[in-house]
């Protein structure tokens, strides 16, 4: 015979606490009412993103509670020299009996930015999980098909050294430029978009590293450490390395995003990926590397550049500071275009290394430049004279 103890568990109770059970003030108000949606209807993305990071200019009545040693708290607007309308209005003074009210929402042009990719956790994991799954399958299929056996010695070295070296660019920018910048912008919309950009780059770096590992396991004479020597010593890479490091040294977060996504990526990133690796690989019997490089190309051109354009588009058309911003962006172009072009040119020897040659370096660079000019003209910016060099 078994004795049964009555187990102690909470009992379900019928409460009828579901929407629509009663009518009373607010009973129908089932949307967030503290921001204005960009389109007619507020999006799921906006609901989970907007206003999570507060702003003392509108609702943050008691102000920031903690500050750095210099007395600045929260997300100082001065962390970039660019401005959005309302930036020059002082933070409302709150004092005994002042009440709490700040300026009406949004109080600042910065809050008008929406990530056109509408990234939040659901989308970012779905997207990146799909990418890594697809890449794994591609690499596995290639391995089973013994696809790597078809590579000639020169191409093997090219992938080991040069495709390998690119992982360091992704890793350095992913961490020290993009992840770093996720602390810097004045709204949650900016910082979330930037953090997603950062994960694209860090993932791409790891994709390349793990691909490199597979190749070392599959091919006896594939040198899995060659990418380190190339990155550290090959003169053809020192221009890219120097400008990558210089990008991580930028203090102004807008300048960092602009220099990386508007200047460096078209002139150096796409030049290397689209106009070298993607062009050279097929003729050298390699159909796997392009799928990795293509994934990164898609990250950039369809996602990261997309939010970057929208972000700067708002600033160059700002109702108060358009001229101010355009002037600064032009200055940044004069600063970064020569650096990136020089890095691009230093890479030129790479074009003659594979047996089956890609299209000429100059043609690739011209393509990169015209893509870059197109991005600038979309933003209403002038291509600096240095681009002619």
């Amino acid at each position: 015979m078994t004795t049964t103890h009555e187990r102690s568990v909470p009992k379900p109770v019928f409460t009828d606490a579901e929407a629509g059970a009663k009518v009373f003030p607010d009973s129908e108000l089932r949307r967030f009412n503290y921001f204005t949606p960009q389109k007619r209807k507020q999006s799921h993305y906006e609901d989970v993103t907007v206003e999570v990071q507060p702003d003392p200019r509108h609702y943050l009545t008691q102000g920031w509670l903690y500050a750095f040693a210099d007395g600045r708290g929260g997300y100082p607007l001065e962390w970039t020299v660019l401005k959005a309308w309302g930036s020059d209005r002082p933070i409302p003074e709150r004092s005994p009996g002042s009440g709490g009210k700040g300026y009406d929402w949004p109080a600042l042009g910065w809050h008008e930015f929406r990530d056109p990719n509408e990234e939040w956790e659901l989308t970012l994991y779905r997207y990146n999980a799909n990418v890594v799954r697809q890449l794994n399958q591609n690499v596995d299929a290639a391995r089973q098909a013994k696809a790597f056996d078809q590579w000639n010695r020169n191409w093997r070295n090219f992938v080991a050294q040069h495709v390998g070296a690119w992982m360091h660019v992704d890793h350095g920018l992913g961490l020290y430029l993009f992840a770093n910048a996720n602390r810097r912008a004045p709204t949650n919309m900016h910082n979330n978009a930037i953090s997603v950009n950062s994960m694209h780059r860090i993932r791409a770096a790891q994709d390349l590293a793990l691909y490199n590992l597979t190749l070392s396991e599959e091919m006896e004479d594939f040198d899995g450490a060659a990418h380190l020597t190339t990155w550290n010593e090959d003169p053809a890479w020192q221009g890219v390395r120097e400008v990558t490091e210089q990008l991580t040294a930028i203090d102004d977060w807008c300048e960092a995003i602009f220099a990386a996504n508007v200047v460096f990526e078209p002139l150096v990133g796409e030049l290397f990926r689209s106009n070298l690796v993607q062009q050279a690989a097929p003729a050298n019997g390699d159909f796997v590397t392009p799928t990795l490089i293509g994934a990164e190309e898609f990250d950039y051109s369809e996602r990261d550049l997309r939010y970057t354009r929208v972000m700067f588009d708002l600033l160059v058309n700002d109702r108060e500071f358009a001229d101010h911003n355009r002037g600064l962006l032009q200055q940044w172009l004069t600063r970064w275009v020569p650096r990136c072009l020089s890095a691009a040119r230093t890479m030129q020897p790479l074009w003659s290394q594979p047996d089956a040659k890609p299209p000429r370096f100059e043609d690739g660079l011209d393509r990169a430049k015209s893509r870059f000019s197109g991005i600038l003209s979309d933003l209403g910016l002038q291509a600096p004279k240095e681009l002619g060099q």
């Binding site: 606490a17 943050l60 709490g100 979330n192 203090d251």
Partner: protein, 550 residues
């Protein structure tokens, strides 16, 4: 993951980091700690190739459960008493989460070991996950729970409400000031390692007992990422400990971070768990019992104490005093009573306690009824408008408390209240450690040592002061805690949604205007202030006026 083993893959990605040869990355955050550059292991060993699909799989489970809950009419069984407090909790918590993401870069330059940066980047995106998945849960409550008021205005409310402000320390403390104090000690070593168990494990259990199984689904999913973050913090802590020069700062920061987390988290979560539940089974754990298990045993005895041998000075006295405040000084009860006293300044409804609740409290906290019972009976009596004021303006043997300048929870353990004059202003503190935090810890010198990177406590830290001399109706309108008929309040001191039983701005107009305790304090002469403090220290428990002196 494919044939490559996780270990090999992880080792391979160590090849990614490199030393700059031409330009150093920008250095934007300072610390007074010193770190020696030494080869370290990445504590996370997480490779994105497996990380992304793993997180996506976790998402599938969360979103599947959410769909199921709606299809299964979960809200027919959800306790309103519980869900109302979620209006506060879920307005606060997405900001600490996203602030943890923003905090990670504070460690890049200050902890010069690239092996740790990979883990910090993954923590960054984990925290983006937490913030948005919690916003999404709140959106679901707003859409499906009977009373959307307070959810629909959530983030505006959070930003201008004094409870939100208290909670905001648990976010801003991660991202400003000395980089190590903030992003390592306050965030990972104390907030995540000590307190996420109560937040993300104890609280969801209580939610389930109140018919809400979505909070547990979401928060257990969140908690499954936290162990990674705890490893990040531990790795940094061990590095900090390896330099003698850091020991004094570690001692300071552990004291501050421990006490502030206790003051803030125990106030909020303690109230939700003890006063937000309808589960009054005598064998369910009280907050005090949970605290003893999760925080005292698991964190203090098992995590902190073993670090003593590495030279970590552990604030034993403050850990015992936090327990003393919870167990002997009624900290959670005092806070819940204060929240209910000031119900009209908030944006959720607070259910009165019943005889069944009284009985449970008495069995878990013997002596509870003698202290708090009468007051809650008054709360119940005054809950529906009937010609009287809200309880804060009625005579129920309760002295409205002064606010702690540091933790911003009021000085509720009356005997512990201390004052100090800082920057020309008299301030009140709930306790000596809170005074010390303001007067000694958050300063550019500490015990004679230069601490130029230490942060500052800033802001309009006393809510009442902003509304000094205002009528209550105007305050509530100014904050926006009004429903769509333009007069019914979002907050109510009961759960009855019959519009005739709900308080409106009209009921508030007749109340006396708000007086800021701090403004009044600063108008006193020295003698008056001394007398005020002596009297205050004799008040309580349960906010009772000091007994007449014989």
């Amino acid at each position: 993951m494919s044939r490559q083993s996780v270990a090999k893959a992880h080792q391979k990605i160590q090849e990614l980091s490199w030393e700059p040869a031409y330009h150093e990355p920008v250095s934007q955050y300072g610390t007074d700690y010193t770190f020696r550059k030494a080869k370290k292991k990445d504590p996370l060993k997480q490779v994105l190739r497996s990380y992304f699909p793993m997180q996506e799989e976790k998402d599938h489970r969360v979103y599947g459960a959410e769909d199921g809950a709606i299809r299964g009419n979960m809200f027919r069984q959800v306790q309103e008493r519980w869900l109302e407090w979620q209006k506060l909790f879920l307005s606060i918590i997405p900001l600490p989460e996203i602030s943890a993401a923003r905090a990670m870069p504070l460690l890049f330059r200050t902890v010069p070991n690239p092996e740790l940066h990979n883990g910090q980047a993954i923590q960054m995106i984990d925290e983006v996950r937490h913030s948005t998945i919690q916003q999404n849960l709140k959106r679901l409550y707003m859409q499906n729970y009977i009373d959307p008021a307070g959810f629909n205005s959530s983030l505006r409310n959070f930003q201008n409400d004094y409870c939100g402000t208290i909670g905001r320390q648990f976010a801003e403390g991660f991202i400003t000031g000395d980089a190590i104090t903030a992003a390592s000690i306050y965030l990972t070593i104390v907030a995540e390692t000590a307190f996420t168990n109560t937040l993300f494990v104890a609280m969801p259990a209580e939610a389930a007992a109140n018919g809400d199984y979505l909070l547990p689904t979401v928060f257990h999913s969140v908690q499954s990422d936290e162990s990674r973050h705890i490893s990040n913090g531990y790795a940094t802590l061990l590095m900090a400990l390896s330099d003698e020069n850091n020991h004094q700062l570690l001692e300071r920061d552990l004291r501050y971070a421990w006490w502030n987390n206790h003051a803030v988290v125990d106030a909020a979560i303690g109230t939700f768990i003890e006063y937000g539940t309808k589960d009054r089974r005598k064998d369910r754990e009280s907050y005090a019992e949970m605290w003893r298990r999760w925080i005292y045993d698991d964190y203090y005895r098992s995590y902190l104490v073993p670090l003593e041998k590495y030279g970590l000075v552990i604030p034993h006295d403050l850990i015992e005093e936090a327990w003393n405040r919870i167990w002997n000084k009624g900290y959670v009860h005092e806070v819940a009573q204060f929240f209910a006293t000031g119900w009209l300044a908030n944006y959720w409804r607070i259910d009165p306690m019943t005889d069944e609740d009284f009985e449970w409290f008495e069995s878990k906290y013997p002596g509870w009824y003698d202290k708090y019972g009468k007051w809650w009976e008054n709360y119940n009596r005054l809950s529906v408008p009937n010609g009287h004021h809200p309880i804060v303006a009625e005579d129920v043997d309760y002295v409205y408390p002064h606010r702690c300048w540091t933790c911003m929870v009021p000085c509720l353990v009356r005997e512990d209240m201390v004052t100090d004059k800082v920057e020309g202003q008299w301030r009140t503190y709930c306790s000596e450690p809170c005074r010390w935090t303001d007067v000694e810890a958050f300063r550019p010198t500490y015990q004679g040592r230069q601490t130029p990177n230490m942060g500052q406590l800033v802001g309009s830290r006393e809510w009442e002061t902003l509304y000094h001399g205002w009528n209550w109706a105007d305050i509530v309108s100014d904050m926006g805690f009004v429903r769509d008929d333009g007069k019914t309040m979002v907050a109510q001191p009961h759960l009855d949604l019959d519009p005739k039983k709900m308080w409106t701005l009209d009921h508030l107009r007749r109340m006396p205007e708000v007086q800021s305790p701090n403004v009044v304090l600063n108008q006193m002469s020295d003698d008056e202030r001394a007398a005020f403090q002596a009297d205050y220290n004799r008040q309580g428990p349960a906010g009772r006026p000091a007994p007449a002196q014989t």
